[in-house]
């Protein structure tokens, strides 16, 4: 249970960008799972069912809020990188790239953000992540690739456009 809670929290905090809200979402997901365990279909794994409940709860809460981040992926990444490009140390550069990635992931539309977090950050298989999203694998892969290309654009902008 602790392992599932930690992993779900890692997904949700990246999805929402808000540790406090992520904690509430994880609590709510476990509560709903506990109340609805009779509806759990054993053809899926427990954790994919739990993650699905958690992501749906996070999306439901996000839908109640007005949009808070007006930056596009590209604008956000450039805003992040403007002061970071001159960082001299490799360690600092890695840290800066991480900041660019974090921002770019958060700037993705919800429909793209969740597939990327599940597959590329958390390392779930395509099959597991598609099941959580309730998508067929082909549709999941299409969303994932679009998400990767958007985040890649932010990385490309950070690395510089000398070769363009």
């Amino acid at each position: 249970m602790r392992r599932h809670a930690d992993h779900l929290y890692a997904v949700i905090v990246r999805f929402t960008g808000d540790p406090g809200e992520a904690e509430e979402v994880v609590q709510e997901a476990f509560l709903r799972a506990w109340r609805g365990v009779g509806r759990f279909e054993r053809r899926s794994q427990f954790f994919t069912w739990l993650y699905r409940i958690g992501l749906n709860e996070a999306k439901r809460r996000a839908g109640r809020r007005p949009p808070s981040d007006p930056l596009s992926v590209e604008e956000g990444a450039l805003a992040q990188t403007a002061d970071l490009r001159h960082a001299p140390e490799p360690r600092a550069e890695q840290h800066d790239l991480r900041a660019v990635l974090e921002h770019a992931v958060r700037a993705l539309p919800e429909a793209y953000r969740a597939p990327l977090i599940l597959r590329d950050v958390e390392g779930l298989t395509t099959e597991e992540a598609a099941e959580i999203m309730g998508l067929k694998e082909a549709a999941f892969k299409s969303r994932l690739h679009r998400a990767r290309l958007r985040v890649r654009d932010a990385v490309d902008a950070y690395l510089g456009d000398d070769e363009r």
């Binding site: 929290y9 990246r14 904690e23 790239l97 990635l101 990327l116």
Partner: protein
Amino acid sequence: MRLREMRPSFIRDHMWTRRHLPEYLDGELDGEDRRRVEEHAHLCPKCRRLVATLLQTLEGLRALHEAPAGATSSISDSVIDRLRRESS
């Protein structure tokens, strides 16, 4: 545009590479098809940059997993507390 980039075989490989990039990134192409992507990327600066930055992006995203976005030490305790409160 360079002369080689106007050749039908180059354009064919370019389109094929773009179409199969997701499978390439996920290691789902067999050896011959991987080589086709890599050989084209070697000749095509745009694809070379795209593939290189996508691979760098994926490496960076995987590294995020090792750097949690927030403290997780108390999360399972807070879940247990909530379940206890709701069940009592």
